[in-house]
Symmetry: C2
Subunit: 342 residues, 2 copies
Amino acid sequence: MKKTRIEALGEFGLIRHLTENIKTQNESTVYGIGDDAAIIDYDNKESLVSTDLLMEGIHFNLVYTPLKHLGYKSIIVNLSDIYAMNGKPEQVVVSIAISSKFTVEAIEELYEGMKEACREHQVDMVGGDTTSSLTGLVISITAIGSVEKGKAIKRNSAKETDLICVSGDLGGAYLGLQILEREKAIYMKDPEIQPKLTNYEYVLQRQLKPVARRDIVSLLKEHEVTPSAMIDVSDGLSSEILHISNQSNLGCRIYQEKIPIRYEARLCAEEIHLDPIIAAMNGGEDYELLFTVPVTQHEKLVAIPGVSIIGHMTHAESGHYLVPENGEDVKIEAQGWNPIKG
Amino acid sequence: MKKTRIEALGEFGLIRHLTENIKTQNESTVYGIGDDAAIIDYDNKESLVSTDLLMEGIHFNLVYTPLKHLGYKSIIVNLSDIYAMNGKPEQVVVSIAISSKFTVEAIEELYEGMKEACREHQVDMVGGDTTSSLTGLVISITAIGSVEKGKAIKRNSAKETDLICVSGDLGGAYLGLQILEREKAIYMKDPEIQPKLTNYEYVLQRQLKPVARRDIVSLLKEHEVTPSAMIDVSDGLSSEILHISNQSNLGCRIYQEKIPIRYEARLCAEEIHLDPIIAAMNGGEDYELLFTVPVTQHEKLVAIPGVSIIGHMTHAESGHYLVPENGEDVKIEAQGWNPIKG
């Protein structure tokens, strides 16, 4: 038997490879694999389903992640997927696998965070599975939401010349992670030294307690702005804009100086000698919404607070570029996911 | 902080503990935690959601489980939950976490089995997540199904004097596992010895390629038999009848000689010196349907092929008993799940 190493395909390659010949069979299945959530039709409404699997040591490190924050974040990242479809999350099912090192109180903390996120977003936890793990903690969450029929916003429907927009600011979550990793390394060498986390509140909060942008979905509606395509920023701006571009068969140009980066994030980036643009493009976990809007809606769009126009879609042949203020355009490339990087 | 060991609560105790104060908030949430699947209302139909998390070393052993069978079974166990609600499974989302030891071809095998199960049951795979694992393989599946409004059959609605029925036969899957474990132990000692698996086809198939009883759901409908409560046998008859009894606030009596056990399973049990009743009561993984039926429907019930009447529900005060042909009644107790036994 042929033996192809998984790294040869990468995450998206692997998913594509495994799912390319899947045909849907049910009338109620409006849209299957390939977006933030699947779409299921129930007469007047459509249902959205999204799932995430979080592994200890890959997606979180319990050395510096309080369990309550972890629970909160694990729900938020799923709700974010439903918002990214223009939907309203309504239910979650939560499965966890735990090893004997956890106490009941520890798992309670985890659930407290989950419940807090559910309360904030008026989401019902309706089921799940609890089982044992020989090693680390595993959290698997499926979120279900609803959207008015035909109103789901996918990734594959951007149009040439559409404006590229992003909510909030980018790069903070990744910078927060760098601070946590730095302090962990210091702590590992000498547990007597107290972690130095003041002055980093903003980036730490971005990493540990992200926000799912329900407000943006509401604001877009209020201002009668209808994005042509939308996705949430979980893997970094590069990866997400490539999803929209590739699935819409288009190119894109993103203007570097337009990428919203907070002052606190710039300061932190400077301190740890990291280009904040790198953090924004390749960091991920900001859970902002990235969307494209027809240029005809420009006037209504600029009236929405907290949204930046960062570029526009182009012909597929024009490629995918980050445009710096000075110097040559930089080709945008997906940051490969690597199952062995651990 | 108080430190309660998880074993002190057990699986069901832990779930109850973690979820007891969860209140649902959405009109569309008809029924949340506490059954095989949640129920979500969409005008004329209700939607069912069920999820399972399968961990390497806990739920499956790759030494003797072919990946294709594993994929098949991982889907089937979820569809079984939807059937156990009297529903029709329509969609699944599949998440896997894999380590670098797997090749693309290995994961293809896994997906082949999943797709085969989906094809057989006309179910659409509509999404998922693929990520890395530092250790073993993790499979998380959420199944979504539909049921006519108000027709979902829960666990908490059995009535006193209802007949207790089970489809097919029990204990086979557990006996199959014992054979696989035995041959693995022999192989570990001397890899030269070929595993001896002939004569065990029936029990091995029960373990490796279980059947989700869609046919029973159809037969019940055809014969106009309406179960008052239903559950699938994933953890063993003891555990499942206690779920129905406790959630319905009733007692039960199960007659030992009525428990359906196949000839092949009896032979195998005898050979490995195991009481086949123990396999049926505590083994699990048979994925048969256990349901209660009002005694007034007895005549219609007996016309359904492949269903055994094994006992009846009683007053809560009468307790939960297994009644042998000779000798004293045996109290039915749940087989505790133990997160550290793994």
